[in-house]
């Protein structure tokens, strides 16, 4: 069997399996395993809003290294991520290195890419997706020495469209365009960090707020979501696609 057939088989097997997966956790595991076959150790399935909006409330599946996620969020790298910027300009999949930017005029972009490499994300591939609502989304993946064969990229293009669709269906975000969000951006940021297991004090440190302010925002969110505890608020926010 040729290698070309293997790529297609890996992709088609995943697509068959996705239909049977009814839990997001199962999708994460299955997609991670497939991308690993192509040499990608990190991936993200997410909406791609226009900065200054932050990325975090739009993430569907986060398969990135924990340290990178934290550093990226804390440094607000999204605003200066040249890969995300290019994603908002094209419908065709591209290698991260093809995202154009001038390091002289945009040094922060160079920093984002350099730090990504420190986390082992040497090379990446991104598949832009335009949701039925017109909202921009993507599947982006990276690794130290991923497979850049043209056939592999075509297989990943297909895999990405189906993986995004499955996540969107399970998390109910295809209706994003119609649904009214009830939480403010600040409240979503804070709950997103709470969902990562951070305490109010830690969230305050990350976002540059006092612990008291964080707690006040959490209380507001609980009221809006009709939740009794912080955990319940996080669960409700996740379910309704707020975070």
């Amino acid at each position: 069997m040729t290698q070309a057939h293997d790529y297609a088989k890996i992709a088609f097997d995943l697509i068959d399996d996705l239909d049977r997966l009814t839990e997001v956790d199962g999708v994460v595991t299955r997609v991670s395993a497939t991308l690993a076959d192509f040499g990608y150790t990190s991936f993200l399935i997410t909406g791609v809003p226009e900065p200054p909006q932050r990325l975090e409330p739009y993430i569907l599946l986060n398969g990135r290294p924990k340290g990178w996620t934290e550093h990226y969020t804390r440094s607000n790298y999204y605003a200066d991520d040249p890969v995300a910027a290019w994603c908002r300009r094209t419908v065709n999949p591209f290698e991260w290195s093809q995202a154009p930017f001038d390091p002289e005029r945009w040094p922060r972009a160079a920093e984002v890419m350099a730090v990504a490499r420190e986390f082992g994300l040497n090379k990446g591939f991104l598949v832009p997706i335009i949701r039925s609502t017109g909202f921009q989304a993507c599947v982006t993946m990276a690794g130290e020495r991923p497979d850049y064969e043209p056939k592999a990229k075509r297989a990943l293009h297909l895999v990405s469209m189906y993986a995004h669709a499955r996540c969107a269906a399970l998390l109910g975000c295809e209706t994003d365009g119609q649904r009214r969000r009830v939480l403010s951006e600040r409240e979503r940021d804070i709950l997103a960090w709470a969902a990562e297991g951070k305490s109010s004090w830690e969230i305050g440190t990350i976002l540059g707020l006092s612990e008291r302010t964080v707690n006040w925002h959490v209380e507001q969110s609980k009221k809006k979501l009709d939740a009794v505890t912080r955990t319940q608020a996080v669960i409700k926010a996740l379910r309704s696609g707020e975070i």
């Binding site: 297609a8 609502t133 293009h157 189906y162 269906a169 295809e174």
Partner: protein, 212 residues
């Protein structure tokens, strides 16, 4: 309203069909630059526009505003004659209950912004589905651009890819097999907020019966 035109009733729709070929030229040749389809007469017609073709046209106050074409897979069709390599992984599905869906269009003035939930497009898609269900067609095959996949996924369709994506006319495209059933129609109607049938009532086409 949606009208279904076959070789049985096309004499009633010659004007609308001609308009539809002209609209296809405007959309595919002028707007989308598919120069392979360009013809001197300004009508976009290919070898599959023959007596086997079924046309699903959206006609509003006598004006053609959208449409689609279905061709039986048991006869020569686009995927079998021009793009067979697009089905290299799963093979090309062929059968009396499988039709190929091509040339779906909505005229520019009836498209709604960047969002793909346009009402006219919904009418055309529901028109295709109603025709399939009422005529025992259980699957459609189609060559579609990859950027259409999220719309079909959001409408709740089951799309089986037949091969890996290929660049066609500068767009990443893929051949798919689409399973068609009552659930597909129900979720598509729900997605577009369409309450019931989009086909013209049977009586409107009754002339056909008389002439047979």
């Amino acid at each position: 309203m949606i009208h279904v035109i076959t070789s049985d009733n096309r004499h009633l729709y010659e004007l609308e069909l001609l308009t539809h070929f002209r609209l296809r030229h405007e959309i595919y040749v002028v707007e989308r630059n598919w120069y392979d389809l360009a013809r001197a007469d300004g009508l976009e017609r290919d070898q599959f526009d023959n007596e086997d073709a079924t046309y699903i046209l959206a006609i509003d106050s006598g004006q053609v505003i959208g449409g689609s074409r279905l061709v039986p897979t048991t006869r020569p069709h686009l995927l079998s004659e021009v793009f067979p390599y697009l089905a290299s992984v799963r093979g090309l599905p062929i059968g009396v209950d499988i039709y190929e869906w091509t040339r779906m269009f909505v005229i520019k003035s009836r498209r709604e912004g960047r969002t793909m939930g346009g009402q006219t497009r919904g009418m055309v898609i529901c028109g295709v589905l109603e025709h399939c269900i009422e005529n025992g067609i259980t699957s459609l095959t189609a060559l579609i651009e990859m950027f259409w996949l999220p719309l079909f996924h959001a409408m709740g369709w089951n799309l089986m890819p037949l091969g890996l994506p290929e660049l066609i006319n500068g767009e990443w495209s893929i051949a798919v097999k689409m399973a068609i059933n009552e659930d597909t129609l129900a979720s598509t109607r729900r997605f577009h907020g369409i309450a019931g049938r989009v086909h013209v009532p049977a009586e409107a086409n009754a002339v056909t019966q008389v002439t047979v």
